[in-house]
C-alpha cells in the first residue's frame, strides 16, 4: 500500500526508487505505468505520453518459445494486422537491436543470452514503442558486477539521448548511488533528491528500519551496513568455534 505519495517526474529525468521489500516500489512503478489505479488521489500524465516498461527478469517466462526478434516485435500490436513483420518493422527491429549491440542475436532464443543481453532485449522491446518515459523494475536484479556496469552504461546513453527513466532498485551502492535523483520509499515517500542528500543515515534508517552509515568515496555516498551482532549470534559463533 502506498500513502502520501506526491512525486513529479519531468522530461529527461533519471530517477531511482529505493526501499525495502514490500515498500511499494513496484506498485509505484505500475501506478505510473497505468496498470494499477490509485484508490484515492490521481496520477496526472501528459496526454499522449509514450511509456515503455521493462519488467523484472524474474517475472519473465524464460521457457516461452520466442526469439529475440519475436520478443522485441511484440511491442508492435497496433497498425499492422498481419502476423509477420513488414520490411519497415524488420528494419526498425534490426536498428534497435544494433543500437543496443545485440543485432547478431536476433534469431536466438531469449533464454540463450547472458543476463545483460536479456535485459537489453526487453529494453529494445520497450524502445520499439518510441517511449518518452522508460519504467524499469529492478534492471540489475541478480546480475553480476560487469553486467550491472553494462546496463548502467546503456541507461546513461539512453538518458543522454533524451529519454526519461524511472527505475526501482535494491542495489544502493551499485546502482542507486550512480543515479542523479533518488526517491526513498517505505509505503510513503521518506525522502527524495540527489543521492548525496538522500543517502543519509537518518533517511536510510527511516526507509529501511535498520541502522546504516554512509561514507564518501570518489565523490559518491557509499552506504555501509551498521550491523551489530546480538549476544546470541556471538555465543553461537563461540560454540561453533
Amino acid at each position: 500500500m502506498l500513502v502520501n505519495v506526491d512525486l513529479t517526474f519531468t522530461a529527461g529525468q533519471f530517477s531511482g526508487i529505493v526501499g525495502p521489500s514490500g515498500s511499494g516500489k513496484t506498485t509505484l512503478l505500475k501506478v505510473l505505468l497505468g496498470t494499477v489505479r490509485p484508490v484515492a488521489g490521481s496520477v496526472d500524465r501528459r496526454t499522449g505520453l509514450r511509456v515503455g516498461y521493462v519488467p523484472q527478469v524474474e517475472a519473465i517466462n524464460w521457457s516461452f518459445p520466442v526469439t529475440v526478434a519475436e520478443c522485441v516485435l511484440m511491442a508492435r500490436t497496433r497498425g499492422r494486422v498481419l502476423p509477420w513483420r513488414s520490411k519497415a518493422e524488420h528494419a526498425e527491429v534490426c536498428d534497435i537491436l544494433d543500437r543496443l549491440d545485440i543485432g547478431e542475436l536476433a534469431g536466438r532464443h531469449i533464454r540463450d543470452l547472458s543476463g545483460g543481453q536479456q535485459q537489453r532485449v526487453f529494453i529494445a522491446r520497450a524502445l520499439l514503442g518510441q517511449p518518452e518515459l522508460l519504467l524499469m523494475d529492478e534492471p540489475t536484479s541478480g546480475v553480476d558486477v560487469r553486467t550491472r556496469h553494462e546496463i548502467l552504461h546503456l541507461l546513461d546513453d539512453l538518458h543522454r539521448g533524451g529519454l526519461a527513466i524511472v527505475l526501482t532498485t535494491h542495489d544502493l551502492n551499485g546502482m542507486a548511488a550512480h543515479l542523479p535523483h533518488l526517491v526513498c520509499l517505505n509505503t510513503e515517500v521518506i525522502g527524495q533528491g540527489c543521492p548525496r542528500d538522500v543517502l543519509t543515515p537518518n533517511v536510510l534508517e527511516r526507509t529501511y528500519g535498520a541502522r546504516m552509515e554512509t561514507i564518501e568515496h570518489a565523490g559518491m555516498s557509499i552506504v555501509v551496513d551498521n550491523y551489530e551482532p546480538s549476544g546470541n549470534v556471538v555465543a553461537f559463533r563461540k560454540a561453533g568455534a
Binding site: 516498461y53 518459445p65 520466442v66 511484440m74 500490436t77 494486422v81 533464454r111 547472458s114 543522454r160 542523479p180
Partner: protein, 293 residues
C-alpha cells in the same frame, strides 16, 4: 496396399478421417496457447464440463451442438472470470467448475437414464456417428479459429507471454483471454465427436509439446503443432480402423509415441542448445557517475 486403401471405400471412414485430420490440426493450433499459458489441464476440464451440456441436451432433446456449446462457452467464461480475479489459481477454478459440470452430467444420466447420443461415444469418441454435416462443421470451425489466430496473432502472443506489459501497451488482455477461451470451447465441442471427452486434453497438449521440443520460435511452433496434430489425427484414424480400436485412444497413442520419439531424439539437442549461454560480449569499464539532467 489394397488393405490400406480399403477403408477409403466407406463414406463413414472418409468422413471420420477428414474430421480427425482437421480436429488434430485445430487442437494442435489451439493447444499452443493452452500449453504456453500453463493451462494444460483446462482442455481436460473443459471437455468434462461440456459433457454436462451433452447430458443435458440429450435429456432435454435439444440440439447437441447448441446445448453442449452454450454449456461449454459458459464454463469457459466462468473459468476465465474466476482466474482473472486472481483470488484462486486457474487450476483450482478449472477443478471446481468443470468437475461440478461433469458430475451434473453423470447425475442427469443416472436419474433420467441414457438417451440420445451414445454415452460411450461421448466419453471415448467414435467415427461411426460422423455425418457429412459434422465434417463441414469441423472444417468451418477450423477455418474460423485459424482466422481468429491469424488476425489476432500479435495480441494473442503478447497476452500469452507477458499479459501485464501487453495490457500497459494497449492490448485488451481480458478480451483476448475471453476470445481464447471461446476458441478453446468451440474446438473441444467440434472435436468431441471423434476424440471423446476423456482424451481431448491429450490432443491439445501433445502436438504443442512436441513442437516446443523441436523449436524455440513461436511462429514455427504454431506451424509445427498444427501439422503434427493433423498428421497424428490422420495416422491415428487409419490405425484405428486396421487395429479395430476406438478412434480417440488410437489418435492419442500415436501422439504419445511421437512425443516419446522426439523426447529421445532431442535430448542431445537440448544439451547442445545450452552451449554458449555464458558467452559475454566483453568486459565493461566501471560505471560512470551519471550526470544529473
Amino acid at each position: 496396399m489394397d488393405d490400406l486403401l480399403r477403408p477409403f471405400d466407406f463414406e463413414f471412414f472418409r468422413n471420420g478421417l477428414i474430421v480427425a485430420t482437421f480436429a488434430g490440426a485445430l487442437c494442435g493450433l489451439v493447444g499452443v496457447y493452452v500449453v504456453l499459458k500453463g493451462m494444460s489441464y483446462i482442455g481436460h476440464g473443459l471437455s468434462h464440463a461440456i459433457f454436462g451440456g451433452f447430458a443435458a441436451s440429450a435429456l432435454l432433446g435439444v440440439n447437441f451442438a447448441l446445448g453442449a456449446g452454450v454449456w461449454g462457452v459458459a464454463s469457459a467464461l466462468m473459468i476465465n472470470g474466476v482466474t482473472r480475479r486472481r483470488v484462486i489459481g486457474a487450476d483450482a477454478a478449472i477443478g471446481v467448475i468443470t468437475t461440478a459440470s461433469f458430475a451434473l452430467g453423470l447425475a442427469l444420466f443416472a436419474i433420467f437414464g441414457r438417451r440420445g447420443r451414445s454415452f460411450d461415444a461421448a466419453l471415448f469418441g467414435s467415427i461411426l456417428g460422423v455425418a457429412r454435416a459434422d465434417v463441414w462443421a469441423v472444417i468451418g470451425i477450423t477455418a474460423l479459429v485459424a482466422l481468429v489466430v491469424f488476425f489476432g496473432y500479435r495480441q494473442l502472443l503478447f497476452t500469452t507471454f507477458d499479459p501485464e506489459v501487453a495490457e500497459a501497451s494497449g492490448v485488451h488482455t481480458a478480451r483476448w483471454d475471453a476470445v481464447l477461451m471461446l476458441v478453446l470451447a468451440t474446438s473441444i465441442l467440434a472435436t468431441m465427436q471423434v476424440l471423446g471427452v476423456t482424451l481431448i486434453a491429450a490432443t491439445l497438449v501433445i502436438p504443442a509439446t512436441v513442437a516446443r521440443m523441436l523449436t524455440s520460435s513461436f511462429s514455427r511452433m504454431m506451424f509445427l503443432a498444427t501439422g503434427i496434430g493433423a498428421v497424428t489425427g490422420f495416422v491415428g484414424m487409419n490405425l484405428s480402423y486396421h487395429l479395430d480400436v476406438q478412434s480417440g485412444p488410437t489418435i492419442v497413442l500415436v501422439g504419445a509415441t511421437l512425443f516419446a520419439a522426439v523426447f529421445l531424439a532431442t535430448g542431445a539437442r537440448g544439451l547442445r542448445r545450452t552451449v554458449g549461454l555464458d558467452e559475454h560480449s566483453g568486459p565493461a569499464a566501471p560505471p560512470p557517475h551519471i550526470a544529473a539532467s
